[in-house]
């Protein structure tokens, strides 16, 4: 009995450590990737290749003074950054890295991850509102409408996939795509011919859910100084920062599990955790690549994209797949 509890505790601790390490070193990867795209080196002073930059940044952030603006709502001000980071780390508990590596495999895994993602959206609202700063309020209003509008096509796409597979358990979702690239969910099949479009829709929605460019209106640097985290210094800002990257890893893992076959090899030969990690990191590279190429959309462009383009197409795909599943 105690051995299973010990197993469970170790598994959870490893999941959390993976999340935190990724969040810290993704900052390094983004800064170096952004640097190379812009023909400059990126951090290269602290340690070889700048690898000691994240610990140096963390140390700096921890030793700074946490300033709470007078008149701000203290409780909400302190809760908001924690609410940004905690759900992302919690979602790591259900994600299966391979057939046998999963902290806790749940039958409602998909539902749990999306429930936690909605909590993350609330942290943006709380942060802007409680800082008593006009820039923060404006930014969080924008960010909330963005988050709500983009959850809908995401969920519709996920419903399509769950319908095709018949289960919400993440391990079984991957197991149903095993056997090589032609079994993956991204490849169009007779009962779901519009799958690549579904993939694009889900990819765009995860960009928007994690507040990444071109949808980063919440932290629009050039217009609203720093958006919803204007008043946060020290570890408050550090938690927002790391929470954003943890959310990115969750988003990439979800895309891999739902569309790209999880830990499956493209040729079906040696499935394993290394394929999963490879796919996540390729997707994260494309997130970084997209951020540094495109300018920001306007708020009405963003809402138009979601309500007028993504939702009709994903609804159409859902109905089409439902109909064709009955036939084939």
């Amino acid at each position: 009995m105690s051995l299973t509890i010990l197993n469970a505790v170790i598994a959870v601790v490893i999941a959390i450590a993976f999340a935190a390490l990724n969040a810290a070193y993704l900052v390094w990867a983004e800064r170096r990737g952004a640097g190379r795209i812009q023909r400059r080196p990126g951090p290269n002073v602290n340690g070889p290749l700048g690898l000691l930059q994240p610990p140096a940044d963390g140390l700096k952030l921890m030793t700074k003074q946490l300033v709470i603006p007078g008149g701000a709502d203290k409780a909400l001000f302190m809760v908001a950054p924690v609410l940004a980071m905690a759900p992302a780390i919690m979602s790591f508990v259900t994600i299966p890295f391979s057939d046998s590596i999963v902290a806790r495999s749940m039958d409602i895994g998909v539902l749990m991850i999306f429930a936690f993602a909605s909590l993350g959206a609330m942290s943006v609202l709380l942060a802007g509102w409680s800082s008593r700063n006009k820039y923060g309020v404006m930014a969080s209003v924008r960010a909330v409408s963005q988050n709500i509008s983009y959850e809908i096509p995401m969920l519709i796409t996920v419903i399509t996939i769950v319908m095709m597979t018949g289960t919400m358990n993440l391990k079984e979702l991957v197991a149903s795509q095993s056997g090589g690239i032609w079994n993956w969910n991204i490849v169009p099949s007779l009962s779901s011919p519009l799958m690549p479009i579904s993939f694009l829709i889900f990819f765009t929605c995860s960009l928007a859910e994690t507040n990444r460019a071109p949808f980063d209106l919440g932290e629009a640097e050039s217009e609203l100084v720093a958006g919803f985290h204007t008043e946060y210094g020290s570890m408050g800002f550090g938690l927002f920062f790391m929470g954003e990257y943890a959310n990115i890893v969750i988003g990439a893992s979800l895309i891999t599990i739902l569309f790209l076959g999880g830990w499956d090899c493209p040729l079906g030969l040696f499935p394993g955790v290394w394929w999963f990690l490879l796919k996540i990191y390729v997707l994260i590279f494309s997130f970084i690549w997209i951020r540094w190429t495109f300018p920001r959309t306007t708020i009405y462009g963003l809402l138009n994209l979601s309500w007028k383009i993504l939702i009709p197409i994903s609804l159409f795909n859902l109905l089409l797949t439902a109909g064709l599943l009955k036939v084939f």
Partner: protein, 372 residues
């Protein structure tokens, strides 16, 4: 007052796009009354960087004012120095040798390309795309290195003198300039593909920030702002000066009056500047760069003299009222950005703040030039 702000519908709040802000390029304060995201009224407050250049022009002799003109608009410094030098030469009746005129035209056009490149990078950065700034600055470094090898400075050139130039260009400059032109053309194609064709960028700028021709005439806006509204006025063609009648170039004019039209005007102007540089290098005559009989002390006869030149931002005018002594009596600088900026208050009513800031970026403001 404690607790978060409550915004009732129908009530407005004042947002201060303050002197320190990433989007206003320089120290500019805009007091905006906002209703949610919409601007109800805007009021620009200037004067944070007033350095009294006009008064310095009255207290110093004519050669001593030369460094001041570069500090007015540091991105396009050679255009402003050109205006000043032409005005004083017209006042004092100094003849300029032809080689000096050609070199002046070539360096002014190089500076115009550098200024537009920097504007392009900063504008796209305002809209959220950080990468084209780095590419634009790399291209600009070529121009700055070329001009540094000739004049000695990278930004505040004090290169022109009354009657000609400080020192001559050498063959290395000509070779580098010739090598630069095809490189810049390739870069312009790259910017076209990366930025101009991008759908996010187009949606950001098409139809945004309309400035009609009538508004331009009311406020006296010139330069790419007016040419993006359909007014075909370029000082180099309408009131030609220096050696520009010898060059064959077009003046880009677009009718749509929105931010995308102003953007396209500037990108096309870069191409036309490259044409002028090419023709200038081909036609460059040999000869001296300073006139033989140069007066030791410049004392223009009493009178009122005005010279307008086309700089990267519009029509820069300089008026010198001389009373026969070695200092000017009145030294008036007509700054194009001041007129361009004054239409911002009226133009941004009813817009969302994102669009207003995109329009401000497309006006190409350099604040030290407004405040002089």
């Amino acid at each position: 007052m404690s607790g978060p702000i409550h915004i009732q519908p129908g009530e407005t709040f004042t947002l201060n796009v303050g002197p320190q802000h990433p989007a206003t390029h320089g120290v500019l304060r805009v007091k905006m009354e906002m209703d949610g995201e919409y601007i109800v009224k805007a009021e620009t407050v200037l004067g944070y960087i007033h350095r009294m250049h006009e008064l310095m022009g009255e207290n110093r002799t004519y050669p001593q004012v030369l460094p001041n003109l570069s500090r007015l608009d540091y991105l396009g410094a050679l255009g402003y120095t050109h205006g000043h030098v032409l005005a004083v030469e017209r006042a004092a009746g100094i003849e300029v040798p032809e080689r000096a005129e050609y070199i002046r035209a070539i360096t002014v056009e190089l500076n115009r390309v550098a200024s537009h490149l920097f504007w392009f990078g900063a504008f796209v950065m305002d809209l959220g795309g950080f990468t084209p700034l780095m590419y634009a600055i790399e291209d600009r470094e070529y121009i700055l290195d070329m001009l540094e090898a000739v004049t000695g400075s990278r930004l505040t050139y004090c290169y022109y003198r009354f009657g000609g130039l400080y020192n001559d260009i050498d063959d290395e400059f000509i070779d580098r300039a010739r090598a630069f032109i095809p490189r810049m053309r390739k870069s312009l194609k790259k910017y076209d593909a990366l930025v101009t064709g991008n759908i996010i960028f187009r949606k950001r700028l098409e139809g945004i920030g309309p400035i009609s021709a009538e508004m331009c005439r009311k406020y006296g806006a010139t330069g790419p702002v007016a040419r993006g509204a359909g007014i075909n006025f370029d000082v180099r063609k309408n009131e030609p000066y220096s050696v520009y009648p010898e060059f064959d170039f077009d003046v880009p004019v677009y009718d749509e009056c929105d931010s995308l039209a102003r953007y396209k005007v500037r990108m096309d102007e870069m191409e036309q500047s490259l044409r002028i540089i090419e023709q200038g290098l081909d036609k460059l005559p040999d000869g001296p760069i300073m006139p033989k009989k140069k007066p030791k002390l410049i004392k223009p006869p009493a009178g009122d003299y005005y010279q307008a030149v086309e700089t990267a931002r519009g029509s820069f005018g300089i008026r010198i009222v001389s009373d026969g002594t070695k200092n000017a009596y009145r030294f008036k600088l007509r700054s194009p950005t001041y007129s361009n900026m004054s239409l911002f208050d009226e133009a941004c009513e009813g817009m969302m703040i994102m669009d207003a800031l995109a329009m401000m970026g497309s006006l190409d403001l350099v604040i030290p030039e407004i405040d002089r």
